[in-house]
C-alpha cells in the first residue's frame, strides 16, 4: 500500500521549473531515498510533501487522502532539517515537547512520558535539561530525530540529515539511522546528494535530475542497471566510464575494468589496450587514469585497482585491460537512454 503518492506534482519559481511533473509512490514502512545533484529539485519535492511549499500543479496524497491544500500542521508528518533547526532558547526537553504542546490535548504526565520515550529511542535521556548550544553535532541530530518522533508521525521526512556531521561520524550515524528506521518501521523519505548514503541506506532510490525523476529502483538496480548515462555517471565513485562509438555509447564501471591475466574465456570479455597516465593512491584502492588506445579517437577512462594486487601498475605504460561482456552497458547516443547490447 502506498503511504505517500504524488501525481504530476510540479513547482515553478517564476520562469524556473524546480519540480516538473513528479509521479511517485512510496510504500508503507519503506526508506525511500531521493538522490540528485544540488538544484535538481529534491528538496523542493520534499517540502511540497511536507506542505511547506505550495505546488504549482499536481497533488500530494498521504495515507490515501489528498493533502495538497492542507497546511503542514494537519499532515501526519515530521521533518528533520539539514541544520536540525533546534529551538536555541529551549532545553532539549522543551524542544522535544514542542510538537506535543502545539498539537495540544496532552496532560503534563503524558507529555513527559512521550518525551522520555522519544528520548530513550535515541539514547539521549541524560541530555534533556541541556540547551542545544551545549550539544555536539551528533547529539543535536539525535535531539532533532527525537523531536520528530515525539508526535508519532506516519511519515518521517529527512532533509540531508547527515551532511552537517563530520566524515567519521557520518558512517556510524548512517548505520544508526538505518537500524532505527527498521526498528520503528516508520515510512521515511530521505533526501541526499550523497550517493554512498543513498546506496547504503535506501530500500529504494529515486534519482532526480532537473526537476524530473530519472529512475526509481533498489540500490542494486540503479547502480547495475542505470536507466541512462546520467544515472550511470552520477552513481559510483568515480562514475561509469562512457565510450562514444559511431552510433551508440558503451559504458563500464571503473572496478569492472581489470588487468588481463590470461585465464579469461576470450569470447566473454572485451579487451582494451589501456595506457596509464597517472596513478592515484587512495589506500585500499588506486585509481588509474589513462587512455584507451587503438580507436579512431582517444577515450579517457578510469580504472579502480586494488592496492593489494600482486601486479604492479605504473604510469606511462600500456597494459591489456578487460571488461566482462555482460558488464558492458549500452546507451542511445542521442538521448542517453539504455539500449540493447551491441557488438563492437
Amino acid at each position: 500500500m502506498a503511504v505517500i503518492e504524488t501525481k504530476d506534482l510540479s513547482k515553478h519559481f517564476g520562469e524556473v521549473v524546480a519540480v516538473d511533473g513528479i509521479d511517485l509512490s512510496i510504500r508503507e514502512g519503506e526508506l525511500m531515498v531521493i538522490l540528485g545533484p544540488s538544484g535538481c529539485g529534491k528538496t523542493t519535492l520534499m517540502r511540497m510533501i511536507a506542505g511547506l511549499e505550495k505546488p504549482t500543479g499536481g497533488d500530494v496524497m498521504i495515507g490515501g487522502e489528498i493533502v495538497t491544500d492542507l497546511p503542514p500542521r494537519v499532515r501526519p508528518i515530521a521533518m528533520v532539517f539539514q541544520s536540525y533547526a533546534l529551538y536555541p532558547h529551549m532545553t532539549v526537553f522543551n524542544n522535544i515537547a514542542f510538537p506535543l504542546k502545539a498539537h495540544g490535548g496532552f496532560s503534563k504526565e503524558e507529555m513527559k512520558e512521550k518525551v522520555e520515550w522519544a528520548a530513550s529511542i535515541l539514547d539521549i535521556q541524560h541530555l534533556l535539561s541541556r540547551k542545544p548550544r551545549e550539544l555536539s553535532g551528533g547529539e543535536r541530530q539525535r535531539v532533532a530525530l527525537s523531536r520528530a518522533l515525539a508526535k508519532e508521525p506516519g511519515v518521517l521526512l529527512l532533509d540531508e540529515p547527515l551532511s552537517n556531521l563530520d566524515a567519521k561520524l557520518r558512517a556510524s550515524a548512517r548505520d544508526e539511522l538505518q537500524r532505527f528506521q527498521r526498528r520503528l518501521g516508520i515510512t521515511t523519505i530521505f533526501v541526499t546528494h550523497d550517493q554512498i548514503e543513498a546506496l547504503g541506506m535506501g530500500d529504494r532510490i529515486v534519482v532526480m535530475s532537473q526537476g524530473k525523476i530519472v529512475q526509481v529502483g533498489t540500490p542494486k538496480e540503479v547502480y547495475h542497471d542505470s536507466a541512462n548515462t546520467f544515472v550511470a555517471t552520477f552513481l559510483g565513485s568515480p562514475g561509469m566510464n562512457i565510450l562514444e562509438m559511431d552510433d551508440f555509447l558503451v559504458g563500464f564501471r571503473p572496478e569492472q575494468f581489470i588487468l588481463k591475466i590470461g585465464a579469461e574465456i576470450e569470447d566473454q570479455i572485451k579487451t582494451f589496450s589501456f595506457r596509464v597516465n597517472r596513478v592515484e593512491y587512495l589506500g585500499a584502492d588506486q585509481l588509474l587514469y589513462g587512455v584507451i588506445e587503438g580507436y579512431s579517437k582517444d577515450y579517457y577512462v578510469v580504472a579502480k585497482f586494488s592496492s593489494e594486487s600482486p601486479n604492479d601498475i605504473s604510469a606511462n605504460n600500456t597494459y591489456e585491460f578487460v571488461v566482462r561482456r555482460d558488464q558492458l552497458r549500452f546507451f542511445d547516443k542521442d538521448n542517453g537512454l539504455r539500449i540493447e547490447p551491441r557488438s563492437f
Binding site: 511547506l52 500542521r73 494537519v74 533547526a85 529551538y87 536555541p88 532558547h89 514542542f98 510538537p99 502545539a102
Partner: protein, 317 residues
C-alpha cells in the same frame, strides 16, 4: 662574526614604514574620537559637576564651593519633583506603547506584501525628520484653535455640539490641559521612536533562520504560538537594546516638550532637561540648572551599562 654587526647596531625609526606601524595607526585613527569625547562630552560633564557644587550664575561665574546646597534647594521645589515624575512617566509609558506597536509593525513588515518598500519608507519618515521640525508640525496639529484633528472631529460630529461624544466646546485644547498635554507629549515620543524600534525588531525577526520557522510549522505551531514561543524569545536581546536606546533618547530629550508646551500648563509637563534649561539658561541660575540636569545621569549610566552587557550577549542563534 662580522655578519652580526647589523643586528647589534641600534635600530633606527624608519619613516617610510610609518603607515605599517599598528601602534601609530591606532593612535592616529583613535585621536578624532578621543578629542571629540574629551572636548565635547568630558569637559562639559566635569564642568556641570563643578557648577552644581558651586554658586555660579550667569552674572557671576566664579566658582565658590557650596557643597550640596543647590541639590537641597531644587529638591524643595514642586517643579523639580514634577519634572522628575514626568521624565520617567513619559519615557516609560512611551516605551511600553512603542514596544507593543513596534512588535506589531515588525511582524507585519517581516511578511512579504506588495508595496512593502514604500511602507518602510513611510514608516521611517518620522525618524528622518529633525526632532524640532517634527515637534513644530505636531504643535500645529495640536493647536488650541486651528488643530486639524479638532477640525476632523467636528466634521464627523464627535466634537463641538452639546450632544456629541467629546462635548460642546469647539476645541479640545490638547496642550492646555495637564493630562491631555502629557498624553500628547507621550504620543509624539511614540511617533518619534516607533520607526527605529520597528526597524531594529524587523532586523531581529529577519535574522531568525527560515529553517526554524519551517520547523515550527511542521511541528504544528500556530501563528500565535510561533510568535510568542519562538520569535519573541529569540529577539528578546535585540528588543531590550531597542528599548534602552529609545529610553535613553526620550529621557535625554528636551526638544519635544520645549517646542510643544514649554513645560506648561503651569509646570505639569516639565521634564528634567527642560526644567534644567529654563532654570539654568533662561533664568540664569547655572548652578541649579546643572544640579537638575545631573539627576538623569545615574539613570542613563545604568541604562548604558545594561545595553553594553546585552549587546555583547546578542546572539540570535
Amino acid at each position: 662574526m662580522q655578519e652580526n654587526a647589523v643586528f647589534d647596531s641600534p635600530r633606527k625609526f624608519d619613516f617610510r614604514y610609518i603607515t605599517d606601524n599598528a601602534r601609530f595607526l591606532g593612535w592616529l585613527f583613535l585621536l578624532p574620537a578621543v578629542l571629540y569625547i574629551v572636548l565635547l562630552i568630558g569637559v562639559p560633564f566635569v564642568l556641570a559637576i563643578a557648577f552644581s557644587l558651586a554658586d555660579v550664575t550667569v552674572g557671576d561665574t566664579t566658582l565658590d564651593f557650596v557643597g550640596l546646597q543647590n541639590y537641597s534647594r531644587i529638591m524643595q521645589t514642586p517643579e523639580f519633583w514634577q519634572s522628575l515624575k514626568d521624565s520617567f512617566g513619559f519615557a516609560i509609558t512611551a516605551q511600553i506603547i512603542t514596544l507593543v506597536l513596534a512588535n506589531i509593525l515588525a511582524v507585519i513588515l517581516s511578511s512579504d506584501f506588495r508595496g512593502k518598500w514604500f511602507a518602510l519608507v513611510l514608516i521611517m519618515l518620522p525618524w528622518s525628520t529633525p526632532i524640532a521640525l517634527g515637534a513644530v508640525g505636531w504643535l500645529w496639529l495640536l493647536d488650541s484653535k486651528f488643530s486639524p484633528i479638532d477640525w476632523v472631529l467636528r466634521y464627523v460630529g464627535l466634537l463641538g455640539d452639546p450632544n456629541s461624544l467629546l462635548g460642546a466646546p469647539k476645541n479640545l485644547y490638547y496642550l492646555g490641559k495637564a493630562q491631555l498635554a502629557q498624553a500628547s507629549i507621550i504620543m509624539v515620543y511614540v511617533w518619534r521612536m516607533l520607526p527605529l524600534s520597528a526597524v531594529i525588531l524587523l532586523a531581529g525577526l529577519t535574522s531568525i533562520p527560515q529553517d526554524l520557522l519551517d520547523q515550527a510549522e511542521v511541528d504544528g505551531s500556530s501563528f500565535w504560538r510561533t510568535l510568542f514561543q519562538i520569535k519573541l524569545p529569540l529577539i528578546l536581546p535585540i528588543m531590550i537594546i531597542a528599548l534602552l536606546f529609545s529610553f535613553i533618547y526620550t529621557v535625554g530629550d528636551m526638544a519635544v516638550v520645549y517646542v510643544l508646551t514649554r513645560g506648561g500648563p503651569v509646570y505639569y509637563t516639565h521634564v528634567l532637561p527642560t526644567w534644567a534649561f529654563i532654570k539654568g539658561i533662561e533664568s540664569g541660575a547655572l548652578a541649579e540648572g546643572a544640579a537638575i540636569a545631573l539627576f538623569i545621569f545615574p539613570v542613563l549610566l545604568a541604562a548604558a551599562i545594561v545595553i553594553l552587557r546585552y549587546s555583547r550577549r546578542t546572539e540570535v542563534v
